[in-house]
């Protein structure tokens, strides 16, 4: 490892300056906001790419921006550091982020507060870049909180609709619950090792088998943080509601930033997780459940964005599965390919919504392939990619995940490897099926809506094409390059034997089966889904109502909390505190009312009082002596 100084601070600085500039200039000149923000984002990408081009797999670029604070023995510098892992994440964040910025200039053109939108968007990128570049846990945590804040701002962007504002709040609150766990993890690490710097922590922890107990707890705390940010059970409920934000925001949250933070953090802290097989087993189970529950929920959603939201939750489960099997590079690989095709899907959905005049319900779409061919083609490519069909980007990463799960050596999990692989394979099949369903309902058949759909402007379709190209070739391009590049930072298992094209096609049978079945069900055999639904009605309703998770949380958390709050409000606040305040006021008031009877306003009365008092004092002293 060679550590070199480099101007890393410039990377997050571009979007930070862009954020302020976009807000100030955008207030006066609406169109300028988008241009400034996109420019800032592109500059950040170019600078990252420049640094990336100059670095080798072993380089660690470092930039101590300033000495942040020192408390007792804790000395924290505002350190930014970019190794191979950070570089990959940075490229994804700035690259995909830039594309989303460009797309947004067209998508948000008619909104009244674009300056606010682009300012938040850039701030979001700034936070995410801090998170990815942070050289110690505290800088990472600043970014971690920053993305939470920005997600709140952007999800509740149209805050005049009460539901949307509530969705923003939900995202923030749920994230805070996870953050509390994450903070506890940081505290524990600092308490035991006196540092929060990644390299120092790694030197202190890596491979030290005496730390297994501590690492199990720390890893559990960190994973709780990750479940909040990366939407795993039990904290995934905010992500589907995050659809309240404008579509490019969904793309940004789901593809480039925010949700990948948990995976990144886990990969960054791999030396802790490596010593915590028990925690990793929990991660495996949680991720498996999340992937499955979210995939089944996505089966019956009618809102095009909701399908994608649940598919993100499900795909994040895949990533955590890979990470929990120790294959961190595979998780990062899936993060990258997922960023490609999920950004493409979301922006495609945005294009559809834009073209159908803000219609999001797929039951009112259909036949759109005639009206918006570019959107259709790109959505098709991205669907095949997420379905995991060779040669599209999702195939390589999903195949790698399954490979990693088959060879999971975790003592708690290993006996059940074949079951897990089977369930994951089934989930992958469901993924292919529900994505094909959304594709078919949106683009095939006859148009069922009442608007006049039209293709989106060039700024949007251009971005879609770029992302589709990435979804097509990205996996193939990265398949061998990424592990080679990451092997000095993350554990990389020896590369699997290269396959022939026929083998690859055979391996994508799950995706192909899902797509074919989806196509059949939602085009020629249109009656079948309803028939299947009525046959398995209880399960269907369970899937349709999202496993009743929201209702469950409402019943066991929100209602009791509301009850307690109401009790505290009525009894403690209104009864006790208000009573004490009003009571003391009333005592003074009453005593004043009594005492004011002595005040006549007549001088001679006062004189008499004085006289009487004098006599009394004199008598008192006389009697005493």
């Amino acid at each position: 490892m060679e550590r070199t100084n480099a101007a890393l601070a410039l990377i997050p600085l571009f979007p930070l300056v862009g954020s302020v500039a976009a807000f100030l200039v955008g207030r006066v000149h609406k169109r300028a906001a988008g241009i400034i923000a996109s420019l800032a984002s592109i500059l950040a990408f170019v600078w990252t790419a420049k640094l990336f081009a100059a670095m080798s797999a072993e380089t660690v670029l470092e930039d101590v921006v300033f000495s942040w604070f020192g408390v007792a023995s804790l000395q924290v510098d505002f350190t930014l550091r970019m190794d191979a892992l950070g570089a990959v994440m940075c490229l994804v964040v700035t690259g995909i982020g830039s594309l989303i910025h460009i797309y947004s200039t067209a998508y948000m053109a008619e909104d009244d507060s674009v300056h606010r939108f682009f300012s938040y968007l850039n701030l979001f990128m700034f936070s995410m870049l801090l998170l990815v570049l942070g050289g110690n846990l505290l800088v990472l945590f600043v970014g971690w909180e920053g993305v939470g804040l920005c997600s709140y701002l952007l999800i509740g962007f149209w805050f005049r609709t009460i539901d949307y504002a509530a969705a923003g709040r939900k995202a923030f609150v749920v994230n805070r619950i996870g953050d509390a766990g994450f903070l506890l993890g940081i505290f524990l690490l600092w308490m035991n090792f006196g540092t929060v710097d990644f390299l120092e922590l790694e030197a202190a922890i890596a491979g030290n088998m005496t730390l297994v107990g501590l690492c199990t707890v720390v890893a559990l705390c960190l994973f709780i943080g990750a479940t909040g940010k990366s939407a795993q059970i039990p904290l995934f409920v905010w992500l589907p509601d995050a659809m309240a934000g404008p579509t490019p925001v969904s793309a940004l949250i789901h593809a480039a930033t925010m949700v990948t933070a948990g995976i990144y953090m886990m990969a960054r802290m791999d030396f802790v997780f490596a010593l915590a097989p028990f925690t990793l087993a929990i991660v495996t189970i949680v991720a498996l459940l999340t992937a499955f529950v979210a995939a089944t929920t996505a089966l019956l959603q009618n809102d095009i964005k909701k399908v994608l939201a649940y598919s993100t939750v499900s795909q994040l489960g895949f990533m955590f599965l890979a990470a929990s099997a120790g294959a961190y590079w595979v998780a990062i690989f899936h993060v990258v390919t997922h960023a490609f095709f999920k950004a493409c899907l979301f922006l495609g959905a945005g294009s559809v919504i834009h073209g159908c005049h803000h219609e999001q319900d797929m039951r009112h779409m259909g036949g759109l392939s005639r009206y918006m061919p570019i959107t259709f083609a790109t959505y098709l490519v991205a669907t095949l990619a997420i379905a995991g069909i060779f040669p599209f980007a999702g195939y390589q990463s999903k195949h790698a995940i399954l490979g990693a799960l088959e060879h999971n050596v975790n003592p708690y999990i290993a006996p059940y490897n074949s079951w897990i692989v089977a369930l994951v394979t089934f989930t992958a099949f469901l993924t292919a099926f529900y994505m094909t369903r959304s594709l078919a309902m949106t683009f095939f058949g006859k148009y069922r809506g009442h608007a006049h759909p039209h293709e989106s402007p060039a700024a949007m379709s251009g971005v879609l094409v770029a992302l589709a190209v990435l979804s097509l070739f990205g996996g193939w391009f990265l398949e061998t390059r990424l592990p080679n590049f990451l092997e000095h930072v993350l554990a990389v298992a020896p590369g699997h034997a290269s396959e022939t094209i026929v083998e690859s096609l055979l391996h994508s049978w799950v995706g192909i089966a899902g797509v074919v079945l989806g196509l059949l069900f939602y085009t020629s055999l249109a009656g079948v889904p309803g028939l299947v639904f009525s046959l398995f009605k209880p399960i269907g309703v369970l899937f349709q109502r999202k496993w009743f998770v929201d209702e469950l949380y409402q019943a066991i958390l929100v209602r009791p909390l509301e009850g307690v709050s109401r009790g505290l409000w009525k009894a403690v606040d209104q009864g006790f505190i208000d009573g004490a305040v009003n009571g003391s006021g009333a005592v003074i008031d009453t005593s004043g009312q009594v005492l004011r009877l002595t005040q006549s306003g007549q001088v001679r009365h006062y004189a008499l009082w004085m006289f009487v008092a004098t006599i009394a004092i004199v008598v008192f002293f006389l009697v005493r002596s």
């Binding site: 005040q599 006549s600 306003g601 001088v603 001679r604 006289f611």
Partner: protein, 100 residues
């Protein structure tokens, strides 16, 4: 020689009249005169004691009281004039602005 108790009885009588006047009368000038009466009752008793005891301490006290009484008369009359200007009467019961 007239015994000291006579002086003291007279002084007590004068003082009581003064107190009653201050407490009962409404005319501020009468109240003012009653205050003077009380001061002079005290003066009388001090002079009487002075003569009985046989030194001049009491008489010096009287001088001080007379000086203070002179100052008080000047200020008191000023207050009465100001009161008359604002209320057009000499009734002390009229001057109850703070009560309202």
């Amino acid at each position: 020689m007239i015994p000291v108790s006579f002086y003291l009885t007279l002084a007590a009588l004068m003082f009581t009249i003064g107190v009653c006047g201050v407490a009962i009368r409404r005319n501020v000038i009468v109240v003012f005169m009653c205050i003077e009466l009380m001061l002079n009752a005290v003066n009388l008793s001090m002079v009487a004691f002075s003569r009985t005891v046989g030194n001049l301490d009491g008489q010096i006290g009287v001088f001080f009281v007379m000086v203070v009484a002179a100052a008080e008369a000047a200020i008191g009359l000023g207050i009465i004039i100001a009161l008359f200007r604002s209320t057009r009467s000499l009734e002390s019961s009229e001057a109850s602005e703070l009560r309202r």
